[in-house]
Amino acid sequence: MAIIEEPLALETGSPGTVDQPLGMLTRPKGGNGWRDWVSTVDHKKIGIMYGVAAMFFFVVGGIEALLIRVQLAVPDGQVLSAGLYNQLFTMHGVTMVFLFIMPLAAAFANYLIPLQIGARDVAFPRLNALSFWIWISGAVFVNSSWFLGGGADCGWFCYSPNSGVTFSPGNGVDFYVFGLLIAGIASMVSSINLIVTVLNMRAPGMHLFRMPVLTWMLLVTQFLLVFALPVITVALFLLMFDRLFDSQFFNPEAGADPLLWQNLFWIFGHPEVYIIILPSFGIISEIIPTFSRKPIFGYSFMVFSGIAIGFMGWGVWAHHMFVSGIGPMSVAAFSLSTMFIAVPTGVKILNWLATMWGGKLRFSTAMLFAVGSIAMFTIGGVSGVTHALAPADTQQTDTYYIVAHFHYVIFGGGVLGLMGGAYFWWPKIFGHMLDETWGKVHFWVMLIGMNLTFGPMHVLGLQGMSRRIDTYAAGFGFEAWNMVATIGSFVIAFAVLIFFVNVYRSYKAAPSLPAPGPDPWDARSLEWMVPSPTPEHNFDEIPVVESEDEWWHRKYGYDEDNRVVRIATIEEAAQDGSAVGVHLPAPSFWPLVVAVGMPLIAYGLMFTLWLTVVGGALTAFGLYSWALEPVDDPDADHGHGDGHHGDGDDDHDDGGDTDEPTMAGVTAGDDAGGE
């Protein structure tokens, strides 16, 4: 990652001591290796860290998946014990959802939202760092369960009462509960931050309806997060109270109703599906116009269908509970609402096709992933319609048909799209291209692999193979397709390996290849007008936006026959990244300190209370120091008109002219204690 480790563009003034209120950690200055990364508040570096960490957990979750598939390759598999198998499929789900695909989407959101709206950073840079560190501490915490008595074995949905102490006596479920709570705080802080960023930090002229579709989809995603996370938070707290303090929320013998958990979980869980898929939809909506040489077809329909999906996503959760006995009227209502959510989704697919219609399609790797994602998502979409039919769902639910469905949606629609995004924005992020030939091999191997893996699961499910079974008996006709699926899973693993090899080779080859320049794809949105890799300060000057696809319109105009003509070369239109003295938010160690305390609190509640005291004290100390730390380095030079905030001493909540300390002192503190 050394590529973008350029010196900070900000003038740091004299390198002398900085007056620190609590003086334990010297105010970080940036630019010196790992300290730069752990103290950064730069949305781009945070985005990269999200991406790297997400890919790491992709490998972890992938290994879990391979073990599952090895166990199921033949009937009566003996590779794993039932207990270990149950932990593996639980952790596979948790890892892939919370530790891979959500943070990978967060990586794109962090990196791209400020660039796409023409901003220098997010609204609350330090909170952004806090989100990342809390998330990673939660991720490490959840996975530490493997070394502390075993992972959760209750499924990622963790239905009560199986998740209660009686039926899951180990610590696995506690790790699940606390890990998700910690990761939830991270997502909550991050989504509030990004919502404010999109609404408030747009460049002049960047009206909401000039924002790129990706930014729109990410905005909808953040709203889904901000409203969905409290619901799972409630559920997790109730479960935690049951497990640790003997409350009676999910104990049927005391008259509790296990369906309460299911409702709370799926009120969160279904919007979660769209939280996973919408960023990918956004990415596809950026890639396809670029490689069709046409604007996105029906921009407003694209935006509104995304909003509609986000909205309707709140009214369909009980379709996960069609067979749980919620009563025929409820089932009927949710069956109907589920069917009609197919409509805005269909609109999106048709609009992508219409964008390609009459276009000049250039099948770069990114384009292949985008188009492949559409096709694969369509498979997942139509199989989704088949179980919107409640009666049909009574046959399909909890079988491998569902497993096939959501893997086509999440892997086909989500992961392929995000992979396409990686190829598309790689030059912008790292300053060199990923090799296209290797990329195309990566695509085809991954496409074949995923169809080999998940395609047969449709058949298995309809043949009656239940989900979450660690073995199956011979004789039910499951043998052949399971073997195919297992082979396919290794093909996917091979494709992921190709990707990593490509990353490494491209990095090695980069110095000998011509630099990609600011805009290697002849793309359309604002991030392509700044140099690659993006300079620390993003934009030399904040662009004034005059139209949708602003960057494209700076390169091309129309002649009198309404034909497209070039009006400026990329070099002419782009910024050269030469601005100096741009004032940037100062790095801080406190987000890391606050984040490190949280898993300690959880370990303490599980094992020994004094750790909770240590963790709580660390978090409180971090928050307090944070609140006292001026948002900007008082020594840093800046020309902001009303910048009179920095004596740097105990200026509590100097929220008057900066936007952050109040947030830090109030909301973040509240998150830690109140939720």
Partner: protein, 208 residues
């Protein structure tokens, strides 16, 4: 091509504060957070409503919170919390005028009223425990203590914030340019109050 600094190019009137919408980041963040809190308290309230009559296994017939509610007492503490909202706006109003002494008085009054409310809650909890309604008794009591406990923790966080503001004011760091900080703490405080308005009616007053 046309690029400009924010200072020079403002294409719509409402962007004249520098942010695209002309509103403060922090305040917007707080409102988004409060919107999200609705879902949190909604979940807790729904849980209580679902469980409010569930006494646990058959013949023992354990007591549930509705058996032991003391409505007059709760009404008083509800009134106290409601009045703390008044003192909160008065504190903000005083700070806007630059009246630091009055600001401090009203901040302290708000925190004190909040403390009285919390004290009332602690008293209520201990009374309930004495009357056999414990956290682990049955789903109804678990849900009641969790809901009101979450609210109590929110109030306590608010008191902490108010006291921080008070200290800042004593140290001379709370000036009219910090009105937004006070306003945002106030938003949080009022939100905790409206949640209680909801809880008081739906949980306490509407009969089981």
């Amino acid at each position: 091509m046309a690029t400009a600094t924010v200072d020079t190019a403002l294409d719509t009137a409402h962007e004249d504060h520098g942010s695209s919408t002309g509103i403060s980041n922090t305040k917007l963040a707080m409102w988004v957070f409060l919107g999200s809190e609705c879902l949190l308290f909604g979940g807790l309230i729904s849980t209580y409503l679902l469980y409010k009559t569930r006494r646990g296994p058959g013949p023992t017939n354990l007591a549930i919170p509705t058996d032991v509610f003391d409505i007059p007492f709760t009404s008083v503490s509800s009134f106290v919390l409601l009045m703390s909202s008044l003192t909160m706006v008065l504190a903000l109003s005083a700070l806007t005028r630059g009246d630091n002494a009055a600001t401090r008085t009203w901040l302290l009054a708000t925190a004190t009223l909040g403390g009285v409310f919390i004290g009332g809650q602690v008293y209520e909890f201990t009374t309930f425990l004495r009357e056999g309604v414990g956290f682990t008794s049955n789903p109804a009591s678990s849900a009641f203590f969790t809901l009101t406990g979450f609210h109590g923790v929110h109030v306590s966080m608010g008191i902490l914030m108010l006291m921080s503001l008070y200290v800042a004011s004593v140290q001379g760091n709370l000036t009219p340019k910090n009105t937004e900080t006070v306003e945002i703490v106030g938003l949080y405080w009022h939100f905790v109050d409206v949640v209680w308005i909801f809880i008081f009616t739906v949980i306490y007053l509407i009969p089981a």
